[in-house]
Structure formats: C-alpha cells, structure tokens
C-alpha cells in the first residue's frame, strides 16, 4: 500500500540532539569493540565515561547492613502502599530533607538549603532542561564557558529552542573565566540579535576538573547583576573535590549579597557523580526564586523520580555516619586515582591541567598533533581510538577552541585497566606513531564519521 511520507516534527527530524558529535561517535566505536580483561583484552578501553565506580562497595556494605531499605519497610511497617501511589511532584518530604542536608554536608555545612526550595527531577539532564524552559524563550541565549560538557548542546537547546553562546576560555590562564571573555560572549549574542537570559557554569568543571576560584565567582555574579540575567550553577560534581583548593559553591558566594541576587541564582545537583548512581535518575534544582521553584516543580511532572528510589535514598542519605564516611573515603580514592593517571601521563611526557575535582583530567596533547588544527586533533583522536584503543573525548566536542586537549576519565575502571591504558598510550607515544601516517586521513575520517552516525547510540557525560 502506497503511503505519502509521514512527516515528523522539525524537532524530531533535525540533528539538534547533537548525537552526531565525535563525543558520541567514540562511544559507538567502544560499543562495537569493548575492552574486557579476559574475553576481549585488545578491545577499546572506555575513558570517555565520566562515571564514578570507585566506591560502590561502600554502598553495598550499607545495603548489607540495612536489608529492609529495599523491602519498602520502615521500622518493620510496610510503606509500600504509600509509595506505590505517591506521585506528588513536590517529592517525598523525607527524601527532600535528606537531599538538602546531603548537599549542605558536601559544602562543609557553610550554606543552608531549604527543602521547600528544592525541586526533584529525573536526573540533572532533566533539571538543566527545566531551568532553561523556565528562564528562556525559543531563540534566547545562554552563555556557557568553554570547554563544556558536550551533552549541553542537546540538553539545553533541543526542545527548548534556546541558543548557547560560548564564553571562550584559554589555556593561557588555566581556562579561567574572565570579565573580558564574558563581555565578548555577551557582545557576540547581541551581534546575532539574541537576547541573553543567563550564564550557565559547571562547578566543579566538566571537562576541566577544576573548581571556580572565588575571584571567578565574584566576576560572574557581578556580571549577571549588571546585565540583569540569571546564573545557573551545575554543581553535580560537588562531592568530587578531592584536593585543595576547596570547592566554593555559588550558594556560598552569594551569602553576602542581597535577596535580589539570590533570585537570579539557581543550582543544579544530582547523585549520579558523587554517589555513583547515574542509573537511579536523581537530580535536583535549588533556587530562592519562588516563581522558578513553583514552575519547575510543575514541570518536574515530566520527569519525576520513582518513589521507590526516593524512599531508598532517603534512608541512605539520612544515615549521617554513612554519608560522612562515604564523602571522605570517596574523595580519597578519587585523589589516588587521579594521581595515578597524572603520574603515568607525566612519564610519557604528557601534562594535564592541574585539577582538584571531577572524574577526569583535561589532558594536553597539543605536542602530539601533526597540525595544530581541529583536523589535526580529529586525526590524533581517531588514531588514539583505533590504534591505541582508548576512547577519550576530544576537546573540539567540548567546544574548546584550542586543538589538542582531551578529556580522559579515570574513575570508571579498575586500577589494572587504567594501568593497561597507560601502557598502550606509552607505546603509542614513544614509538613515534603520534606523528604517523597522514594523507588519506581526512577523507577517510569524514566517510567514517558519516557511516557511524547512522547507528543508534548511548550517550553519557
């Protein structure tokens, strides 16, 4: 039966989902040939997944001590009925309290979070999108410092219709946000006749692994006040600050400022990174702005957290002994792991941006580029994925305008696997393959990229 072609919406048919970027393509390559120590020792090692797998045992031992936590019981009494029917978008009160307190604990209890100003969402992906829906119209712009998490291109822009204007940061000052860079980005937006509604920063930063300095926070806050816009601070890595300087939340930075500043500042959080529970889909927005909280709460209907999960986590996070121990131990393990990576890289003559947080390092491979261009970076990346067998994230996918930087994750694998990946990289670098074959490269690269973009894919930070 002949039928006219059914049209999808423009949103569904377009590529704004951003999943054709190299960030996701690397994922696909990995999935076709994933490393396994026994069954596939020559496969591709996943170093592009910013996931924390170092501290599962801590949660497992908590589970072993608290078996009733998964049995829908509270002190022997079943709470199943209440949970089964619970779909209030205001969230489970016990969980919100526990969440707010946990967030305070991560900030050394230097700030207070009001559970009533907390909005629960199915992951920070949902939280970020909701905030953009609340703050901007289709066509409005948000300024985001580069390099930034590739997923933002999809999460912030796709359904909302918003635009991202990059605030270019450079290695000359450690990729710090400066006032001139902010002004330049704002100016760019105006040139494109876009109305700027806010700035969105990730602190600690993905992919840099650094925390914002006090000076940077002040600059940011001054800037948004001057321009009359909002500030979204994505603090989902706040529990991964394993080294000094300490993490300063924007919540802390605004404590001296007045109410009108508090109304413009919104924090996004999630348990995916700090607790290593991305599959649980737990995100949150905290804001002093009542209108934002009210609207975001209603919008969270489109991404509520399972009551089963809320209940379980309220028990886990209320155990203060557990949380204190977990936070400290987790940071210790992250620090050790990061050192292991940076040391190994140093012996190969590769340096990293000095970092104190995150689940990854921002690695400087500029000296390995054949040409210091985006094409050169792509060529090196392709070689590292295929010849070395490491999936790392090229800086261009994070909108870094200096070719040669790569994000390498260290917390999603065992120590042995990390060591193997460094061995492989060592062989590659020392054998001089870094400046190896060229020529057919670019054309084949394009063909390859096109071929892969037809596949389905996974996507993650």
């Amino acid at each position: 039966m002949n039928c006219k072609q059914l049209l999808l919406s423009k949103k569904a048919a377009c590529n704004a989902h951003g999943e054709d970027s190299s960030y996701f393509l690397g994922w696909q390559e990995y999935e076709k040939n994933p490393y396994h120590p026994i069954t596939n020792p020559h496969g591709i090692i996943q170093m592009g997944l910013a996931e924390n797998q170092l501290s599962f045992d801590l949660i497992e031992s908590w589970l072993a001590r608290n078996p009733d936590s998964t049995a829908f019981k509270s002190e022997g009494v079943s709470v199943f009925r209440e949970l089964a029917l619970f779909q209030d978008y205001h969230g489970l009160p016990a969980f919100k309290h526990a969440m707010a307190e946990f967030m305070e604990e991560l900030r050394g209890n230097k700030v207070a979070f009001d559970p009533r100003k907390l909005v629960l969402t199915a992951g920070s992906t949902s939280a970020n999108e909701i905030l953009i829906f609340c703050l901007g119209e289709p066509g409005d712009a948000f300024l985001v410092p580069t390099p930034y998490y590739p997923g933002f291109d999809r999460d912030l822009k796709w359904r909302t219709g918003a635009e991202i204007i990059p605030i270019h940061c450079s290695s000359s000052n450690g990729f710090r946000i400066t006032k001139p860079a902010l002004e330049e980005a704002y100016h760019q937006a105006q040139q494109q006749k876009l109305r700027v509604k806010g700035v969105l920063v990730t602190n600690p930063s993905n992919p840099l692994g650094t925390t914002l300095a006090h000076r940077e926070l002040e600059t940011l806050i001054d800037f948004i006040v001057a321009k009359g816009i909002h500030l979204i601070s994505d603090e989902i890595y706040s529990g991964t600050n394993f080294d000094s300087p300490g993490f300063i939340s924007v919540a802390e930075a605004i404590t001296e400022r007045g109410e009108e500043v508090a109304d413009r500042v919104h924090i996004v959080y999630s348990l995916s990174k700090d607790l290593g529970l991305p599959g649980f889909r737990v995100g949150a927005i905290h804001s002093q702005n009542e209108a934002v909280v009210s609207t975001a709460t209603k919008m969270s209907s489109f991404g509520l957290i399972s009551s089963q999960t809320q209940y379980f986590l309220s028990l886990l996070l209320s155990d203060k002994e557990f949380t204190a121990n977990y936070i400290a131990e987790n940071k210790k393990r992250l620090r050790e792991r990061q050192k292991r990576l940076t040391e190994a890289l140093r012996t190969i003559g590769i340096s990293c941006l000095e970092s104190n947080a995150g689940l990854f390092c921002w690695v400087d491979m500029r000296h390995l580029l054949k040409t210091k261009t985006p094409e050169g970076e792509m060529e090196l990346w392709k070689r590292i994925v295929h010849d070395v067998g490491l999936n790392i994230s090229p800086g261009s996918s994070c909108h870094c305008n200096e070719p040669g930087w790569f994000r390498v994750c260290f917390a999603n694998m065992s120590e042995e696997t990390l060591d193997i990946s460094m061995e492989r990289l060592k062989s590659f670098v020392l054998s001089g393959d870094g400046r190896g074959k060229i020529g057919r490269g670019p054309r084949r690269l394009i063909k390859w990229v096109r071929a892969i973009s037809a596949f389905d894919r996974r996507s993650e930070r």
């Binding site: 039928c3 049995a71 199915a122």
Partner: protein, 533 residues
C-alpha cells in the same frame, strides 16, 4: 479598552464601539476618512491621504495608550496564552529577573488552575478517613486504583529483596549492575526490561496481540510519554484532534511546553459519548479553516473520563481517516487492563495486526500507573510502529527516564506471568464489583451513569441537579458537592464536555464501606436541590 477612553465612552452612551481599541476621538478622524478611502477622493487622494492620516492616527493612539496595556517583550510571543495579570514580578517591589513566558504563565497562584486540580488540592488538605477524619473530603476525583494494592504488596514482600539485590550472574556485584549508566530508553540490559514490559502488555490484552520489545520506549510515566510524542509528531502551533470529554491533564501535558493545540471533537450523551468519524471530519475541516495544521488524532481507549470502549469498526474507520489525511493516530490505552464490563477491549494494535494497514502512523501510550496500580514508580511506555519516531523518542526519553531500581524490580515482577495473570483477573473482578455497587447506589439518588466498560470511574449525569443548564450552573453544583457534601468529583467542564452537568466519579479510592457514606453525603446536595425546586 484603554483607560483614556472611559471619559469619552460615558459621554456617548449610545455610540457603537468599534471592535478595535480605537476610541471616541479616533472615530472623529476615521469616519470622515471613509469617504476618502472609498475612492471618492480620487485615486491619489483616495490612497495616499488615508495612509498618511492612518499613520498619524496610530501615532496619536500610541501616545494616549495607558502604560498598563504595554506587554513585556517576553510575553508578546504568547500573548494569547498569558493572562493580563502577568507574573508577580510586576507587583513585587524589587526588580525580578524576567522568567520565560512559559514560566510566568504557570507561576501564577494556583487558584487560576482548572477545577480538576483545585479539587485535588482541597481534598488533599482535608482528606477523609473513616475513623481519623470522618468529616473530611472524600476523594472521588483521582483515578487511582487502591483496590488491588494488597496483591502487589504481597508479591513484593515475598520477592522484592531477591528482585533488587539478587545475584546478577553476569555482573556479580549487586549495586554495580543496578547503578551504572544505561541507554535512556531502558536499563542496562535493555532487552530484559522491554521484553518484560512487552510480555506484560500482551497479557493485559489477554493474548489478542503480541508486542515487539524493540518498538518500546520507556519513560518516567505516561505524562512524559504523551509530551514526548507531541514533540515528535507536531511543531509548535500544530494541533491534535481530541474527542471530548477528555482527560484534563492533557491540557497541561500537551499544550504547555510542546505548544501543540488541542481541538476538542465534542461527543454527545445521545451517542453515549462515542466519537464518530463524521465528527472528526467536521472538526478537521473547521481546524483547517482556522489555519490550524492538524498532525494527529488523540484518543483514549478505554476512554477517560467516560470509560467506554472503541469498537473495531470505529478503529478501522479511524485508521482510514488518519491515512486519508496523512496524519498520526495516538491511542492512549493506559486503562487497557482495567476493564470491568462484558465488552471485550480491542487495542488498535490488534486491528493493525489483522490488516495490511500502514502502521507507521500509529502510536500507543501505555504505563503501569493504572493497570498495575503503581503510579509512584513512574513507568510509562511509548509503543510505536514508526522507526523514526522510535529513534527520536528514545533520545528524548533521556529527560524522563525510568529509575534503575524500579526497572530491576519490574523485570522480576512482570516476568512472573502467573502472578500477573492472577493479578489482572482478580483486579478486574474487584473493579467490576465496585463499579456495580457504585452505579446501583447512585441510581438510588436518581443519578444515571453513562455506559462504561473500563477505567476507574463512572461518568454520571447530574444535570437535573443544576439550577442553570450551563457551565456556571455545573460549577456551582461542583462547589456544593465539595463544600456541602464534601466529596471531590471532576466536573465535565474540566474535561471539555459540551453538555453541562456531567461529572466523573472515581470508585477505586474507596472501600465498599465508604459507599453508603458517599451516597449519604451526595444526598445532602440532591435533596436540598429537590426541596428548593
């Protein structure tokens, strides 16, 4: 009307007002111009002069316009949606950073919401309990099934721990498998969850159709499922045709962020509120005349709020209709397992299976909130025959994904086909029993119900108890029921029913013992109406 015009209006009580915002002084300029415009002033004068004078007229009006009428820039795009009493930002003393129009529209006080939500709130504030709060508001406005929760609970008591923490043969470690990243349309082992859900759906349809797991996209509830489909099938400003009365939640779920219009296709009590293809045809033509591009027909089957089922012939007719118009069909079958009558439920999937029809335009919404009584766990399903839609929806599902522990629990529960089969059967029996008791009890009060074979509610005709046969009259009765009888019911107007006086009463949040209490409460209102008429 501008403030400035009030003075002029009062001095000319019989002056017919022009539909535009122009006022008295403007008329004094415009009327004489008519002659010029009509060409009596010659071609040049007839065209140039009016333009020039019109320009000056606009200038004059602008200068005299009251400042309150000047909408903020962000609101102008959606001026028709936003009420003139904008966000609180305009009233508060300090300058608030502007929100989006979407946010401003919803940040307003809750009283502006539809009665559907208002009633739910008032009930939540003073909920009935037979012993602890016998004078509280009885909830009959929430389509939630509490009749068979004990069965699910029993299963969980036996199996939950095993289901959640049991040995994962592949991974070995328990929490690791549970916690790590997943494709956003399912779980780590996507096939396991979609297999389980597909199997469950097949059982719900009593084996009349089998569902393909690869055509399933999981979402955190049916609410995001319908929103995601709206984003996939329509652009901003396009429309869906929806037979009314329909589920009040769609007004928010579909119109809000995806900005798709809903065009109601009114159904009548004379047809037991079944829709006809002829009515769809009329609505389609009318929508087209209004410049609306219709992208899909959206139905619920079993219907919410009426509870009737769509028969096979109508489904065929519907498929022909959407094929002819080259649009989509969305069938919300979330109550498919909650049928209680003798009529057999026929899913659109069954009709598609049987015929060589173009399937790529058909999409089914499903979920576990109704049939499995688990709204809190947030599990919804988009089932589509269109690969492109599945591709897009599976990417969009990242904003609304199902929590991993819940996925794991479900794989276990839904794979226990014996439990599921017993559950579905017992649940249907209990629904049937409760429905009958309710309907018979309401009959005693002289309240008739529309024919219904599914869902958790009765669609009842209380038009004889409203004073004025209008939406206002219905609202008054709704209010009486809430404040005097202290029962929360859903008025037909919230469901866009064009016949006043119909209400949706849910019977699944009460026990058999509550029924006499409900009747006695409602009698207060029906009696007082009888006595005063």
């Amino acid at each position: 009307m501008t403030r400035g015009s009030d003075g002029e209006k009062r001095s000319r009580p019989h002056q017919p007002h022009p539909p535009s915002r122009s006022n008295g002084p403007a008329m004094r300029i415009v009327v004489p111009l008519q002659g010029v415009v009509q060409g009596r002033g010659g071609l040049v004068l007839g065209s140039l002069l009016p333009c020039a004078l019109f320009y000056f007229l606009q200038l004059y009006l602008k200068r005299h316009r009251s400042p309150k009428n000047d909408p903020s820039a962000s609101a102008s795009a959606s001026a028709s949606i936003i009420p003139r009493t904008l966000s609180r930002g305009q009233l508060s003393p300090r300058a608030q950073p502007p929100l989006s129009a979407r946010a401003a529209a919803l940040a307003r006080p809750d009283d502006d919401d539809s009665l559907y939500y208002a009633g739910l709130r008032r009930c939540a504030a003073d909920p009935y309990h037979p012993t602890r709060n016998p004078d509280g508001v009885i909830q009959l406005g929430l389509a939630e099934n509490q009749l068979s929760l004990d069965l699910v609970q029993e299963w969980l008591v036996k199996n939950a721990k095993e289901a959640l923490l049991g040995e994962d043969k592949e991974e070995g470690l328990n929490i690791r498998g549970l916690a790590t990243y997943q494709p956003f349309d399912g779980s780590i082992d996507l096939k396991m969850v979609t297999n389980a859900v597909a199997g469950f759906m097949g059982q719900v349809m009593r084996g009349s159709v089998s569902f393909n797991p690869s055509q399933i996209v999981l979402t955190s509830g049916a609410t995001p499922a319908i929103e995601i489909l709206s984003f996939c099938l329509a652009d901003t400003g396009n429309a869906f045709l929806v037979p009314s009365p329909y589920y009040p939640g769609w007004d928010r779920d579909i119109k809000w962020r995806s900005r798709v219009e809903l065009v109601p296709v009114p159904c009548r009590s004379t047809d037991n509120f079944s829709f006809s293809i002829a009515a769809l045809e009329r609505a389609y033509t009318q929508a087209k005349k209004r410049g609306l591009k219709v992208r899909a027909v959206l139905i619920s089957n079993p219907s919410n709020p009426v509870g009737n089922l769509v028969n096979k012939e109508t489904l065929y007719g519907l498929l022909e209709f959407v094929t002819e118009k080259n649009i989509h069909l969305i069938s919300d079958e979330i109550f498919a397992g909650s049928t209680h009558g003798k009529t057999k439920f026929v899913s659109v999937a069954e009709v598609l299976d049987a015929e060589a029809l173009d399937k790529s335009r058909v999409h089914i919404i499903y979920g576990l909130s109704k049939d499995l009584s688990l709204p809190g766990f947030r599990v919804g399903v988009i089932y589509s025959y269109n690969e492109n839609v599945l591709n897009a929806a599976s990417k969009l599902a990242r904003f609304s994904s199902v929590s991993a522990p819940t996925q794991r629990l479900l794989v276990s529960m839904l794979s226990d086909s014996m439990f599921i089969s017993e559950y579905l059967e017992t649940n249907r029996e209990r629904l049937q029993r409760m429905y009958r008791l309710f309907v018979d009890a309401l009959k005693q009060l002289g309240i008739e119900c529309a024919g219904s074979s599914g869902g958790f509610y009765c669609w009842v005709d209380m038009s004889k108890f409203i004073q004025s046969y209008s939406e206002k009259g219905e609202q008054k009765l709704w209010d009486k029921l809430l404040t005097i009888a202290k029962v929360n019911v859903t008025p037909g107007s919230s469901c866009h029913c064009i016949e006043p006086g119909w209400f949706r009463l849910c019977f699944t949040t009460s026990t058999e013992k509550d029924i006499p209490v409900v009747i006695q409460r409602i009698r207060k209102v029906t009696e007082s109406h009888r006595m005063s008429h």
